[in-house]
């Protein structure tokens, strides 16, 4: 085991920067399991996004048609009043943040986020000086869960429970645990108490079995 981990406060500061940075840059809240679902069902996600884009474009065209019809009805006089000020036009041309525009991010953005999380892990291992291809999750895992095929079966089953459970609960450690709790969402507080409690129970059980 490496003793060169960040202190609790510097780790907390860095994670806070990520969770708040995500809101500042993306105008949506951090959530990994939701991103995983969008990637798994990428075809449905792409279709939904196409529909949202068409809807947004339709609204702009509708607005333009209404303005043209109004001008046709009441003459060109109202064009000055009705015309949108130049600075607002510039604002509308600028790419809007996803939430404000009502258009979801493309599936590839979720995929990029997930891929670069692995890049972050790679850089972390490089900095810690323990980058290596390993066929085990560590000695504690080998001692408590096992090695070889039985351990792989536990990993696959456990992973399935993580995928199924996070989507059933509507969030994971990031969406419910970090961001949901920070936003004092009752559902997130409940989810966090339950998944932490179950994690504690299962871990204590693992320890007592060996």
């Amino acid at each position: 085991m490496i003793e060169a981990y960040l202190t609790w406060w510097s780790g907390g500061l860095c994670l806070t920067a990520v969770s708040l940075g995500f809101w500042v840059l993306e105008r949506r809240t951090l959530g990994i399991s939701g991103a995983v679902e969008r990637v798994v069902f990428w075809r449905a996600d792409r279709a939904a996004r196409d529909a949202e884009v068409a809807m947004a474009q339709g609204a702009l065209e509708f607005q333009a048609a209404m303005l043209a019809a109004t001008m046709a009805e009441f003459g060109g006089d109202c064009s000055e009043e009705a015309s949108v000020p130049e600075d607002r036009r510039a604002q509308e041309r600028a790419p809007l943040p996803p939430l404000a525009s009502g258009i979801r991010p493309p599936t590839s953005a979720h995929l990029a986020f997930m891929a670069f999380m692995a890049v972050g892990g790679f850089l972390g291992a490089l900095l810690k000086g323990d980058l290596a291809l390993r066929t085990t999750l560590g000695t504690s895992f080998d001692n408590l869960v096992g090695v070889g095929a039985p351990a792989w079966a536990v990993l696959f089953l456990g992973g399935t429970m993580v995928g199924f459970g996070t989507r059933m609960a509507g969030g994971c450690t990031s969406g419910h645990g970090l961001v949901g709790c920070a936003r004092l969402q009752p559902g997130s507080l409940l989810a966090t108490v339950v998944f932490f409690g179950t994690g504690i129970g299962v871990s204590l059980l693992l320890g007592s079995l060996r």
Binding site: W8, V119, G121, V194
Partner: protein, 137 residues
């Protein structure tokens, strides 16, 4: 690569790097967190929640604190997730970080996560059908 891809790439790298450097990707450290052998990761988690809460108050305001409804999936889903997290250490982002660090068994956990995610949507559509809410992505 658009601007948005560059932004999420930076955020993803920052998150993966932090989780790696703080030890969340180490199965033994997560086990120590769950068995109260070491409170460091618990404190990382708690500090992030408190600081993010203050941050959301400042930069987002009451909009971020509007109550979202509870749904029937929260408790059973979180039980499954908590058990799976304790077994694999994948939460699920940690699985990606483990993979980046060269820990190959994470591939099996991640395969499970994909299968579970796929299965839930099918099961949900067939049997449950309640409003899932979600974490707002």
């Amino acid at each position: 690569m658009t601007l948005q891809h560059t932004r999420v790439a930076l955020l993803g790298t920052g998150m993966g790097l932090t989780l790696s450097l703080v030890g969340f990707s180490d199965w033994g450290e997560v086990h120590h967190m769950f068995t109260f052998a070491d409170l460091r990761l618990t404190l990382v988690f708690a500090l992030t929640v408190v600081l993010s809460g203050l941050g959301f108050r400042l930069i987002c305001g009451p909009g971020c604190f509007a109550r979202q409804p509870l749904h029937k999936g929260i408790v059973p889903g979180s039980i499954l997730f908590g058990a799976g997290w304790a077994l694999t250490g994948a939460c699920p982002s940690i699985g990606l970080v483990q993979l980046g660090e060269g820990r190959l068994p994470a591939l099996i956990s991640l395969a499970g996560v994909l299968v579970g995610t796929f299965a839930y949507r099918k099961v949900h559509a067939r049997f449950f059908g309640w409003e899932r809410g979600g974490c707002g992505i």
